[in-house]
Subunit: 344 residues, 2 copies
Amino acid sequence: MITIYDLAKQTGFSAPTISKALNGNGKLSDETRQTILAAAKEAGYTANMAAKALSTKHSRLIGVILEDVAMRRGFEHPLFGGLLNKFRHEIEMAGYDLLFLSKHFNDGMSYIDHCRYRDVEGILIVNPIDDDPEMKTLGSCGIPCVSTNEFIPGVCAVVSDNESAGKTAAQAFFEAGHTKIGFLGAPFRENSPAAIERFKGFKAGLESYGLDFDERYMENCAAWWDGAGYDGMKALYERCPDITAVFVVCDSLAFGAMKYLLEIGKSIPDDISVIGFDDDTSVLKAAPMLSTFRQDRDKIAQLASEMLLQEIAGIPSPEVVRVPAQFISRNSVRRFARVLQMGY
Amino acid sequence: MITIYDLAKQTGFSAPTISKALNGNGKLSDETRQTILAAAKEAGYTANMAAKALSTKHSRLIGVILEDVAMRRGFEHPLFGGLLNKFRHEIEMAGYDLLFLSKHFNDGMSYIDHCRYRDVEGILIVNPIDDDPEMKTLGSCGIPCVSTNEFIPGVCAVVSDNESAGKTAAQAFFEAGHTKIGFLGAPFRENSPAAIERFKGFKAGLESYGLDFDERYMENCAAWWDGAGYDGMKALYERCPDITAVFVVCDSLAFGAMKYLLEIGKSIPDDISVIGFDDDTSVLKAAPMLSTFRQDRDKIAQLASEMLLQEIAGIPSPEVVRVPAQFISRNSVRRFARVLQMGY
DNA sequence: CTGAAAGCGCTTACAG
DNA sequence: CTGAAAGCGCTTACAG
């Protein structure tokens, strides 16, 4: 391993001068800088980050909290995986590395201790464990944080515009002539906006068309995976067999719901129309006709990295940044004839 | 931030003594150790890894090379995502953190430079870029490496027993009475064993039953995603419409292949039987009847972490470790009546 | 524009 | 069993 002292010896300059040349700061003659840079290159010099981190207190490490209790897919989660691919790329371009924070590290240190241990400079909270009490402390722990799925006091959230998407779903159903429309949700948790917001927007959308949303038409599934969607749809449909359409908060649930509907002999969209959420490729192959919403994972990741880098630089972020989700209309919504006659 | 000097002041011992107590090494009276540990706990002391790394040359960091040019799914790759979930858990239990190695870090340092920069202690090569020349240098770079998909000179490979799986596929088809069986492969690359080995085993399996494999029955798709499977199946089937079965090297390709077959009016398995590979959940929802092989991601990850930790400790690893892939028989293979009559 | 000194927080021999 | 000294590789004021 070659150090700045080796470079100092070779070039005849002092270590601090080598340091300045390498880092491009301080006043140095161009000539000095050039010779030092050339020597470094020739010697194949690579800085030692541990030493840098120790003296500067800057580790160039971004901690990532990624737990996936809800879907149990970890890296393979339909939103989180793609988001991380992009986020990783963005921060690497800025000279940072990803460091996964963990609770079972070194027999159970907290996230924050893990951060201190590694001098982590910023935290991306992709998704925490439900109701983790440590989340509340993150906003004031002194380390810049950005969240991409959960609302945490004092932490900037970059999330899809779920309400608008909900409205769009209502609009799509309404314009196709549906009036009895179910809502299949997921556990409503205060800090996890996705399900609640999609419902809010959906309800507001219906009301804007003069349709009151009947609470009986709403069913919240017990979890986020397809089995729960199956059970939820069963409960909903047995209670309200008159619905002609259902908006489901995510595609996994929609897949389970459709499975149930198909099993009892219903066809989609002829008997019942469905709109999902996520544009989940794992569902899409099975249900290529499913209309859904695509969360802009690249955009969310890019904004999240910008906000975080900005906060590290001392510039505060807004409390929440919304990213539009794109409606992807395929063929799971039946258009009623009378509507077509109305000129649609 | 509280340091060992603070602890030293508080307890009246010297910094080295604090260090020994904290790390459990060196000779210390139990009493001293206890008081120091208690003081550390009360003060909420967390070690500083940068300082530790600088003085010990041990970063407790495992570099990960994860590129996914083949499937373009990154973290969402059917094998790699799950493998990483488990690998991450394993090494965290051992006090290590994951560090993704990247070529576009800090305007383009090599993987090895990235490792030196961070003092990475070991490298997990989940999947490299095809024909990356840097791979050849990894085996002799001085940093312990383990690979989970690619053969690299001097690097321990932990991979599925693809040949046995290929034989099992041949057996399954043969026992069901098939004799004209196609093989749908992927680009054969020398260092990437999956496709070649599955083919080898498959061919050997057929031959063990006295069936010569007709080279015309083999078609290698241009890539690993479903569109390539569609095209590959088309080419194969147009050339050999007499096949009654096809073994496909991965489920994504199998999905594309089935899509083609369905489109031209064939039914599966009545007209043509299919066996895939990967037990890819994203395909499974669409084709729940697909018989396939499940790679034991947890086992591969666990063995890879063991090998790597072992190498870091100075114990050499075997050149290759094989992990059985489990055949999952569902309903995509037709059993011919005459076979049943033969007593199967 | 360049360098000597001190420090970041920890550990490793080496004394005692 | 415990501590004084030196060092890991880098950077930050501060002189000059």
